[in-house]
Symmetry: C2
Subunit: 438 residues, 2 copies
């Protein structure tokens, strides 16, 4: 469990003025990392750290060798186009870099003149997937989402018997994970309405979003050596927003008996910035469970995890239709939920995933599964909002939606906020749905 | 479709004598590629080509620049520890290298004195996974296997309605794919007998093998741009043997609704040599389907595929128990099948996988799914042989098995053979089952 330290001090400000604006996603207490380059220059991608509306170019910073040898070496690992080597270094190194950057960027730092030339406006850069994602695993950790989806198929018995014992998950497709801003083409696939005799191959009519938290694995484990739950969080590099686009009409026909496949693999969208676990230390909550629910099996249970197992990340999904865009209207909020309501914790996901000896590797990625809350304003997918496509929702401009239409832009955002800490923002994961290929 | 050419000429022999031994896995008509290094020297891995009992060191060959510029450049791509760059070059380059090597290694070649120093005994080398496998997808392409497994759960209706329409598949775990010779630890997991009230976390009692063909993707496609079935085979780099180890008692409790996860992700074993699609050109067979079965949807259908869609790869799985090993007894054959009996072709797998726009990348890997035939000697898993663990099989030495015991070594082999061609061997994929971690 990462402790509060001087990097979380609420009185800290930065000499980068924009970082001190109330409500800013990237104050000096955040310091998330992404991989970026300047637009239109065809230059190499490298890591950067967000501070206010600037990005600190880690490849340029590495050249200056401003810190001690260990920190300089760690920053050198950020000069290339993927963060995998940096992710493999481990929490001690990530913390040392964070502390050095916090000190260097805070108001009054003597390093300001040297670091200022390493800053770029975020408006002039573009991002990419920040690491080589070896394997991507999607969990199903929101009991509200699992219940809502289960109700559509089994109204009297929505939750499957294994749900409260196993952090259910499946292997996802890593190649089609793209960064925010890369639009998504409506997929084609085999569709078979229940009453049809045969399937047809056609564009999906039920494209949906899923509001998820993304989790990057830092250090891995050796094949055959499970990660004990007591050590699980040490393996977490950080968090982002994640839209796991889904084709709801491809899924029911393909998914028995081996699970979702083409219904999911056409696209997933990540937000560019990785928020470190350390930045989220002030936003931990007890992991709770209904007393009537079974206690977790011992490999999934830990006293520290119970006390501070939940990350209270506030999530929001908004929609901007083409008509709204044409009239200059901004996106409308469709759902807001918190990762603190997840039935399974990140530590439990890691302990379970490796419990059979499966090896996690630096840069592996978990989706949390759609995060929905208990009430109608907290739903993380259109499938839930439209009750399986049976009840269209009406937008403020009068348009209706059961599922996404071509041109719809889905915008996810997230933040952590409480009275004892400075607000930490996640930025955005956004992309529009393009028409199907002819 | 790759045509027969001079590299397939049955009269060709090599100046490497061992390649000319009848029954040799690696005659000059084969020329498979692997990634290797000499044992005990901690040297770098690089690609090699098998010829008889030798391996041609492609990193050493690259230094000699014996061929035209294009072929030399392609060989240079084989000097590193992964084949991904070479895989990305495409069929034209792979064919040019194959032709150059065939000419250089055949009896009478003037290059013999220059190439001889690049040969090592296969007995002194060790292998590794030959490329960075980005994504691994496991299909379910044997209708016999699907029917046999379905019967265990639904005796009256074993085959699910989607089976004859969709090449069913799921995303697998790439990190735990290891090369032949790396033993496998028995996994622990949540086990819940149907009559138990709660699951327990314990070592799996039902570890099984699955006899599969592995397929490497060479060139990929861009996200959003499906690969038409007419072009699908151009994307195939080659084939290997594949053991998709499975924990049959973890699977039933975890797999609803999202499919197999920890039941599979603890280990998969590949054979080291990748047999090129071109080497298999003499072993193609028509792809056939029962006239009562539905015709494939048009995106899965192609006249060439029907005429020459099946790869007639003979597969065999053998078992050597610890007791057999102690007495010097060799492995006993448990099943033999042919990939030609697969219900779905490789071209159909590729066309389906990319039909939603999902991007395949160089080094991606497909498992064919367990290949079983119609009769009892053709079963590719113990689950099928033991009728779901209900009928133990008796080995020649009197031992019995429902599932694998600690110390059991599973050996898979494969070859292609017919009267018009020289036999092509696949080598072996073998590994033993180690006891569970305490």
């Amino acid at each position: 469990m990462l402790q509060l330290n001087e990097t979380h001090d609420t009185s800290l400000t930065s000499w980068v003025d924009s970082a001190n604006t109330p409500g800013c996603d990237f104050p000096i207490q955040n310091l998330p990392m992404a991989v970026f380059r300047r637009k239109h220059l065809n230059e190499n991608f490298r890591a950067g750290v967000a501070i206010g509306d600037k990005v600190l170019d880690m490849a340029e910073l590495a050249k200056l060798r401003l810190f001690d040898a260990e920190v300089n070496a760690a920053i050198q690992c950020c000069a290339g186009p993927t963060l995998n080597h940096y992710m493999a270094l481990g929490q001690e190194h990530w913390s040392a870099v964070r502390l050095s950057l916090s000190r260097a960027l805070r108001s009054g730092s003597a390093l300001q003149p040297k670091i200022e030339p390493c800053l770029l406006d975020q408006s002039v850069v573009e991002f990419t997937v920040p690491c080589r994602i070896g394997d991507y695993t999607d969990f199903y950790s929101s009991i509200h989402h699992a219940t809502n989806v289960g109700k559509l198929f089994r109204p009297d018995n929505p939750l499957l018997p294994n749900y409260k014992w196993i952090p259910i998950a499946y292997h996802g497709r890593s190649s089609s994970i793209e960064v925010s801003g890369v639009d998504v083409r409506r997929p084609c696939g085999q569709l078979k309405p229940a009453d049809a005799k045969a399937p047809v191959f056609a564009p999906s009519k039920r494209v949906d979003y899923e509001l998820e938290v993304g989790i990057y694995i830092g250090t891995g484990n050796s094949l055959g050596e499970p990660i004990p739950i007591t050590q699980a969080e040490q393996h977490v590099f950080g968090f982002c927003l994640f839209n796991d686009w889904s084709a709801r009409d491809i899924q029911p026909w393909e998914y028995v008996p081996l699970g979702p496949f083409l219904a999911k693999s056409f696209a997933s969208t990540i937000s560019p910035w990785i928020i470190s676990a350390e930045a989220l230390a002030p936003f931990r909550k007890p992991w709770t469970r209904d007393p009537d629910d079974p206690a977790p099996l011992s490999y999934l249970d830990d006293e520290n995890m119970r006390q501070q197992g939940a990350f209270d990340i506030q999530l929001q999904v908004s929609l901007q239709t083409e008509a709204m865009r044409a009239r200059g209207e901004s996106a409308v909020v469709l759902g807001q939920s918190s990762f603190a309501d997840s039935y399974w914790s990140v530590a439990q996901m890691i302990a379970h995933h490796s419990s059979n000896g499966c090896n996690l590797q630096p840069g592996d990625f978990f989706g949390s599964g759609t995060q929905s809350g208990a009430d109608d304003s907290q739903l993380g997918s259109l499938l839930e909002l439209s009750r399986g496509g049976q009840q269209a929702i009406t937008l403020p401009n009068g348009e209706t939606r059961c599922f996404l239409e071509d041109g719809d832009r889905v915008v996810m955002s997230g933040f952590c906020e409480n009275e004892n800490a400075v607000r930490i923002g996640f930025g955005q994961a956004q992309a529009a749905l393009l028409p199907a290929e002819n």
